[in-house]
Amino acid sequence: MPTQKIDLKAVQDDFKARIARVKRRVVICAGTGCVANGALDVYHALADAIAARKLDVVLALNEEKDSDAYVSKSGCQGFCQAGPLVTIEPEGYLFCKVRPADVSEIVEETIIGGKPVERLVYKHPANGQLYAKRDEIPFYQRQNRHVIGDCGVLDPENLDEYIARGGYEAARKAFVEMTPETVCEEIQVAGLRGRGGGGFPTGTKWQLTLAQESAKKYVICNGDEGDPGAFMDRSLMEGNPHRIIEGMMIAARAIGADEGYVYVRAEYPLAVQRVRKAVEEAALAGLLGDDLFGTGLSFELFVMEGAGAFVCGEETALIASIEGERGMPRPKPPFPAQSGLWGKPTVINNVETLATVPLIIEQGSSHYRTMGTEGSPGTKTFALTGHVVNTGLIEVPFGTTLREIIFEIGGGVTDRFGNPDPHGFKAVQIGGPSGGCLTAEALDLPLDFESVKGIGAMIGSGGLVVMNQDTCIVQVARFFMQFTQKESCGKCVPCREGTKQMLALLDNIIEGRADESTLPLLEDLAIAVRIGSLCGLGKTAPNPVLSTLRYFRDECQAHVVQKRCPTGQCKALAQPEIIAPLCKGCGACIRKCPVNAITGEKRQPHVLDASLCVKCGACAQVCKFNAIVGV
């Protein structure tokens, strides 16, 4: 493949000149969430509407002319709850839940008129206040979108735009102006810690790999994000693939590698496609391949799709997977830094970690350390989901409290009908299946790697699931346990068999079969699995159980001793009952009941015989007065 050597400065100037000739920019979010909600239809409708209006608009920015607007797609803009999202620059308007039917109004009012479309702007669910500009919306205002910021703006399929925003400048600096030692040193001083879950210092990892004598070394980007509900890495790969490539180039420079792999889970087709395209374009531009920046050094990059196993996010399993073996972890040591891919020294970093690297090299470690805490500098992205008003992808400096995240950025907790409920907070599950539940007591804890670990959970890759008062905590633990027992690789005994039995014990609790020995046994087992498992998956799998036992012991006891689920979610424990004051005696339930468990006179409160009831729920469905509970 013929490659040309790229002149970064020339590309920057050229792109800036082109964009300067555009009056307005329309950025349509093309992250997976918005695409699923019809963002591409909006894009096409907008293009059509503009054409119909005979406006001077460009879609590709390669024509040398002045124009009224430039319409482009971006990666995830973060506010997934409100998608499909459309941002208009330079005003910074953000339109929410845009449908194809809305586009003509956008063209008339905003693109031509320069005014926001009022009915499409964000309306605060609690106080009804309107926010036309994105940066004023509390969801965005409270964040520090240091790493993911560009995701929502630039066109991920346009290398020029990435370069125009200073892209590949850090890589050039690392290759031309720095040595492997100084690159490692800079990352070390910055205090960057792995974002995949463990929080291991990236600089140390690089230095260890650099110290290994080997003609061949590898850099691997771990894009096998698998926690349920987490999508930080996906958004980065979809929204800013070149940043990841650049981070890998710098890592390669730091350790002396000439080959790299991006391991993306196959369930992220858009991420695979965008990363592949970015790698191709970077290679064509001479940013990958031989003689990088005239240094004589090479770096070749390959994209590899995973095969759908959660455990392949574990580094040794991931390496086995690339080698074509079954994705099973192996004992460490040796660490990948000593013997990784094909037995060669290998650095393996998470997507977010690598995406942070160019920023540190470009802006310096001291700037990086101005964000976050002493032990955990910088920012962290979280996928905020669950019973919260604003769900989406957020980024905050370490040290931010859960209260700020849930109540200010997230807009507070919602009840079962989706309405804000100021007193609804029960717990937040942090770190997905490897993390744990945190209670109201932890709301004011400044979040960083150590503080969260100290209270029995972990930052993990950054999933945050908010739970309201109607959530049964035992069922939450069961959900995660079901996940890990399915996703365990099946190699070591504690993880494979232990998760299976923890799940069985949780089922016993939920279904009323537990006795006084169940909780102590569950706890003993959980500890044995945590201490004795082979890899991180097994060692952290009991965390949801242990944190539940630690913070919600009473709720567990209620299930076990009184055979009662305090939230009423566990069907097997529910006591079927007709609440007499609510019952109007209409007889609808009597006619529906398949086992004749309900009796009663017309217009008199009916009675349900719990010993006959099979809890099919048919009665509650027909009851117009919500008088039947526990079925």
């Binding site: 192996r330 040591p333 399915k486 690789c489 099946g490 494979r496 039995q501 046994l521 003993d524 087992l525």
Partner: protein, 668 residues
């Protein structure tokens, strides 16, 4: 500070002594840490987690995967460690079919042993898995997944030592199982029945298939004459089942036991091994003189023969055409004994007692049947014979030795050392030396070919002929050597291959003995037996000389060839090895099979398959065409091979596929 090369183990100072890992150091110091998945000859796996220890500054670690570092402070049985080990055993037992009283592995089972040792008196967890079917479809091995604890020993043994990988892990999490490829039965895949999996299995999940009942039933038939042949390796191992030292030769006791069990005649497979030596040496020397079909490859190991048929079709011509001693014995016995014993051949029931599970498969090969009846009617392993002796209540150790029946009970030392790796080579050399040097040396020994290393290359000169030899055991070693021979990197005259590490003495039918130490003692036993015999070279066996004079004619002659030699054929690795990669909902589809076997794969069949799939989709042919990936069409040299309907396309291109598809779909 303590001495440089020591650790502190439970408060005691213990030397490291170049231990491979912490586990070995601890075991050497006299503490038998429990393990399921640790085998010194296999890679460290770290899955059973029973060898956990507490190390100061490192917390709880598995000792198998930890290097002993001077100054380490280690504890092996603290309260938390013991509790954890107990929980892990309980976890394994919860889903283990606990049919211990009726399990063939009972009293030899590591799970049973460790549960007792660790004081597991109750299992607090419930069974969560449903029963899985048992695979007993092949003649050699029984796989019971319900007893599998997924330690992976079998998987690693099959892959790392035999280079086959007939079984591997499938699925993950709670659904993890060990299965043959595509979830088929063992007999449908490339298993060579060496049984190494069974000999490393800590539980009863893979066991040799028992033929005890058919032998008892033959013994019970009034007219039937039951005759036994005892393989060399059996005599140095059976005693272990009765508390005797490994390597102790118990031939006489075995004969006595067999007679007490009701066997009418007891012969020695070593007699047939002597016969093999004569036939094989003759064959080899002809090849050497004519300089063709070299290297000469031995053929007495049935697992190796099946392996060669599957993986080395181009070298099958080099394999000795000699049947194995078991089958030479079977053929000769069925043809000569009825006359000698004055019985009908139908009434002769021939039982061989073997250290080997593959021998069960070999005895059922169609090549070794006469008029549809197997020459060898039943094959018992050493273990099975031990069980029969126990069933009959015979006090083995107290037996007065009895002598073997003649003439087929007479052997020389050459036929006895067959049981150890290098034995066949040495036996052949003892005859070849006499022929090439034209000097008789009744006590010639070739100690240089003995040993336990996996590959041994030797060169020696007999008369004016120089012979290059290689002795290998472990089929992975054999495969590597065959590759080197194919590429011309290595050239030999004679190659001996045994599947089991150490040769037949370590066969899967032998009494359970984990680890390599026992092998050496058994081999020593055979070489001692050789020394105690009067004759050491096969050509000196007077009964064989008589047999050739009266029955077989000349060595390598017409009768000998018909009775004692065989042919080999290419063998498919998988039965019906295809799986659907496109929707298979509609019947009567046009079948497109793209070979993705190794040879076609390297010639680009994967790409071809992908393009074909895409083409079928784009051309809207999904309802009429079923695209399958398949394994070997045995046309490897002409790959990639694609079969469309009945048409087989060699050196197939994408364009050819499209053309043929168009042609055939137009007819549908």
């Amino acid at each position: 500070m303590t001495d440089k090369n020591t650790i502190t183990l439970n408060g005691r100072i213990v030397p490291i002594d170049n231990g491979k890992n912490l586990l070995e150091v601890i075991r050497k110091s006299g503490i038998e840490l429990p393990t399921f998945c640790y085998h010194s000859e296999l890679s460290v796996y770290g899955a059973c987690r029973l060898c956990i220890v507490e190390i100061d500054g490192m917390g709880v670690q598995t000792s198998c995967s930890t290097q002993a570092v001077p100054g380490m402070v280690v504890r092996t049985h603290t309260d938390p460690l013991r509790k954890m080990r107990k929980i892990y055993l309980e976890l394994l037992l919860a889903n283990h079919h606990q049919t211990c009283t009726t399990c063939v592995k009972s009293s030899m089972c590591k799970l049973q042993d460790l549960a007792a040792r660790m004081g597991v008196t109750e299992v607090r967890f419930k069974t969560t898995e449903s029963a899985k079917p048992i695979d007993a479809s092949n003649p050699s091995l029984v796989r019971d997944p319900n007893k599998c604890i997924l330690c992976g020993d079998c998987v690693r043994a099959c892959d790392e030592i035999q280079g086959i990988g007939a079984i591997d892990f499938a699925h993950r999490g709670a659904g993890t199982t060990v299965v043959p490829a595509f979830g088929k039965e063992l007999k449908q895949v490339d298993c060579v029945y060496c049984g190494l999996c069974a000999s490393v299995c800590p539980t009863g999940a893979i066991t040799p298939k028992s033929e005890i009942d058919s032998v008892w039933s033959a013994i019970g038939k009034p007219k039937t004459v039951v005759a036994a042949q005892i393989a060399p390796a059996v005599r140095v191992a059976l005693g272990e089942m009765f508390g005797l030292e490994a390597g102790q030769v118990t031939t006489g006791k075995i004969v006595a036991a067999l007679k007490m069990l009701g066997f009418h005649k007891v012969y020695d497979t070593s007699y047939a091994a002597d016969l093999t030596v004569l036939e094989e040496t003759q064959e080899f020397l002809v090849r050497k003189t004519e300089n063709r079909k070299l290297p000469h490859l031995t053929s007495c190991c049935p697992a190796w023969v099946k392996f060669a048929e599957q993986y080395l079709p181009d070298l099958l011509g080099n394999l000795s055409s000699c049947r194995s001693p078991q089958q030479m014995f079977g053929s000769l016995a069925k043809r000569t004994l009825p006359e000698q014993l004055k019985i009908d051949v139908k009434d002769l029931f021939l039982v061989s007692i073997m250290p080997c599970t593959a021998k069960k498969f070999e005895a059922r090969r169609p090549e070794f049947m006469t008029d549809g009846v197997a020459d060898v009617d039943a094959v018992l392993t050493t273990q099975e014979l031990g069980q029969m002796i126990r069933q009959a209540g015979i006090r083995f150790n107290e037996l007065t030795p009895d002598s073997l029946d003649m003439p087929m009970g007479f052997k020389t030392g050459a036929g006895v050392i067959f049981g150890a790796s290098g034995g066949v080579t040495e036996a052949v050399l003892r005859y070849a030396a006499e022929k090439l040097k034209s000097v008789k040396d009744e006590n010639a020994e070739f100690v240089e070919v003995r040993g336990l290393e996996g590959v041994r290359e030797r060169q020696l000169t007999l008369g004016d002929v120089t012979l290059k030899l290689a002795i290998v055991h472990g089929l992975r070693n054999a495969k590597t050597l065959a590759e080197a021979i194919r590429k011309g990197e290595r050239a030999y005259d004679f190659v001996e291959v045994m599947a089991c590490p150490g040769g037949c003495i370590a066969g899967a039918g032998q009494p359970i003995a984990y680890g390599p130490a026992v092998r050496g003692r058994r081999a020593d036993g055979l070489y001692e037996a050789d020394k105690t015999l009067q004759l050491h070279a096969a050509q000196d066996n007077p009964y064989l000389q008589k047999c050739y004079r009266e029955t077989l004619g000349s060595i390598g002659g017409k009768t000998a060839h018909a009775w004692l030699h065989t042919k080999y054929k290419n063998r498919k690795r998988y039965e019906d090895a295809s799986f659907s990669v496109s929707d298979n909902g509609v019947q009567q589809k046009l079948q497109v099979c793209v070979c993705v076997g190794t040879s076609c794969y390297v010639r680009g069949s994967q790409k071809l398959l992908e393009r074909t799939l895409k083409h079928v989709k784009n051309a809207g042919l999904e309802d009429t065409v079923d695209v399958r990936a398949t394994f070997c069409f045995e046309q490897c040299d002409r790959g990639p091979t694609v079969r469309i309907g009945q048409t087989v396309l060699n050196k197939c291109t994408f364009e050819q596929v499209c053309g043929e598809l168009q042609k055939q779909t137009a007819m549908v």
